[in-house]
Symmetry: C2
Subunit: 343 residues, 2 copies
């Protein structure tokens, strides 16, 4: 059985209050008494009972995190960043995954609230089109920060990249190297980031006077390697002369590259491909993938920082203005893209 304050108090004949105050470093304790208490606590290997502390202070120094998927280069980088930053501030992190499902996401959010975590970080599932479960969290007065996959409609702090701008850059690059017929493998219809990436693609075409053709846009469902292969084949069947593709996510782009390799279509000679997110395996695939670098680790750190500020503000009963943090991205040119020579 772990040592309690009471046991320390009895051992040296002082009161529990005094022991508590001494251990917490309060000033109004006789230095001699304090010394003895500290010594005894150490000898008895005293560790505060966190259950009791939680109950008294109404905080658990624990936050909850919901991601759509854990086995995922980007999200695992974010998780790492969150845990690292949380640890610095003495917080622990409970992690749950929604598996891109609205129902699960809702359930996980309830689990975390019932657990009375001090705050929640969430990246929204692809399957989510209603957002009342997030409203409840906010009404419930639990600090909430969304990152990467956010809901525009919900008023809370957010840490994101500028997906539209990044997608614009990616598409613009394809145009600049000479691509004339550029397809887009876009993410599912609901998530804000796949909408924004699509809009960035479309805007770039417009700005450079390339007619937008909705038939060149394929909507992914699983956002998987297999889907990349599938739509690469489909694209080749359905269209001639496509010379560039901007793909919503690296994993899918790598599927596409694999399919083209199998079909003996040369990347980048016959077709240039740009991915999104800069997964590690993009450096390893052949040809290596040109992509947009999305700073996962940093996003995790920033997301926790914002949440932490909100938790502190709440504790002090201060008003908190929701923050919106937009992180920089950049285009990383590798071997899946190549300037088209004029003939």
């Amino acid at each position: 059985m772990p040592t309690t304050l009471k046991e320390i108090a009895e051992k040296i004949n002082v009161s529990v209050s005094t022991v508590s105050k001494a251990l917490k470093g309060y000033a109004d304790v006789n230095p001699e008494t304090k010394k003895l208490i500290l010594k005894t606590a150490k000898e008895m290997n005293y560790k505060p009972n966190s259950f009791a502390v939680n109950l008294r202070t109404k905080e658990s120094k624990t936050i909850g995190l919901i991601v759509p998927e854990i086995v995922h280069h980007f999200f695992s980088s974010v998780i790492k960043g969150i845990i690292a930053q949380a640890e610095k501030k003495g917080y622990l992190v409970i992690i749950l995954q929604s598996n891109e499902s609205y129902e699960l996401e809702k359930k996980q959010l309830e689990l975390l609230q019932n657990k009375r975590v001090d705050g929640i970080l969430v990246s929204i599932a692809n399957g989510t089109s209603k957002f009342d479960h997030f409203k409840e969290v906010i009404d419930n007065d639990t600090p909430l920060v969304m990152f990467d996959k956010i809901a525009k409609i919900i008023d809370c702090s957010k840490v994101i990249i500028d997906d539209r701008k990044a997608a614009y850059e990616a598409t613009k690059y394809l145009i600049e190297i000479g691509c004339k017929k550029i397809a887009h493998f876009r993410g599912p219809l609901l998530p804000q980031n796949s909408i924004d990436r699509f809009l960035g693609y479309k805007k770039a075409l417009e700005d450079f006077n390339i007619p937008y053709d909705s038939k060149l846009v394929y909507v992914l469902n699983d956002v998987s390697f297999e889907e990349g292969k599938y739509y690469a084949k489909k694209l080749v069947e359905e269209h001639k002369n496509v010379d560039g593709i901007f793909v919503n996510t690296d994993l899918v782009a790598i599927g596409a590259i694999t399919a083209f390799n199998e079909m003996n279509i040369k990347v980048p000679e016959d077709i240039s491909i740009v991915g999104f997110s800069n997964w590690f395996m993009s450096t390893v695939v052949s040809p290596s993938l040109t992509t947009i670098n999305q700073p996962g680790f940093k996003m995790g750190k920033e997301a926790f920082k914002v949440l932490y500020k909100e938790i502190k503000a709440k504790k002090k009963n201060e008003k908190f203005r929701y923050k919106k943090v937009v992180l920089d991205t950049d285009l990383i040119v590798r071997n899946s893209t190549k300037p088209i020579l004029k003939s």
Copy 2:
């Protein structure tokens, strides 16, 4: 402010005890009273205060997990398995990472114990050579299960694969396809699994009458992509006619393949390579990597199952016999290996 039992009790003029018993489904409550209590609790959106429940029941329905690294295909798969299984049983998971450091591992273990988690799952850091911090956990009466990277010397439950056997199979396969001079990129000196993989490699050589040459064994430090490249180059500089390599981990094997590609050494024609773990990117690299499949998700589920049993046993004050679960692996043949034609 969340509703409390007291508020419900006052509203309908019964005692707190009765409300508590009704909500917990105890039999000795008048059905009418019970009905009213349940209805009122629902109306008032009552959720038990988990801090109070923890304090009373002395359990938090939370476990701790320490992995060496989160951004890692194998470990993220294990994490996913643990969380999935834990959730089924109503447990939440706090995740920490040791970054392969002994100091950090020790610190994280203390954090989790101070938090009074109901149990701890851990995969040991490469930097760990002393194991007293684990002994403390056990003496402290906190259920502990090690998975994948374990300490032989510590008496606790373990969930592993048979690394020696798997490495033996990998090396044997290289021998069977005709390799005569087989190198090994082994993991760091401390972790049990890199020792076992090395021993499996050595045993296979012996059994098939290939002389063991310690100069053909390179010891990895970071177990990274870069190290794979580095040692592949070094191997070529230092030895002629090496026709096979068994590599401790896929990531390193992929680094080696990349280096060989750059040096215009043909894999598998000039040299066959077998990795270990079956990371997703092994299907994507060119040539795709022959490797040992290591079931991460399943390992996670099994690790939680064993821990759960131990937690239950402790709660009932039953004696618990530590379990050792050994999961199956299998060799997955891809394109980085190829039978050598007799000339």
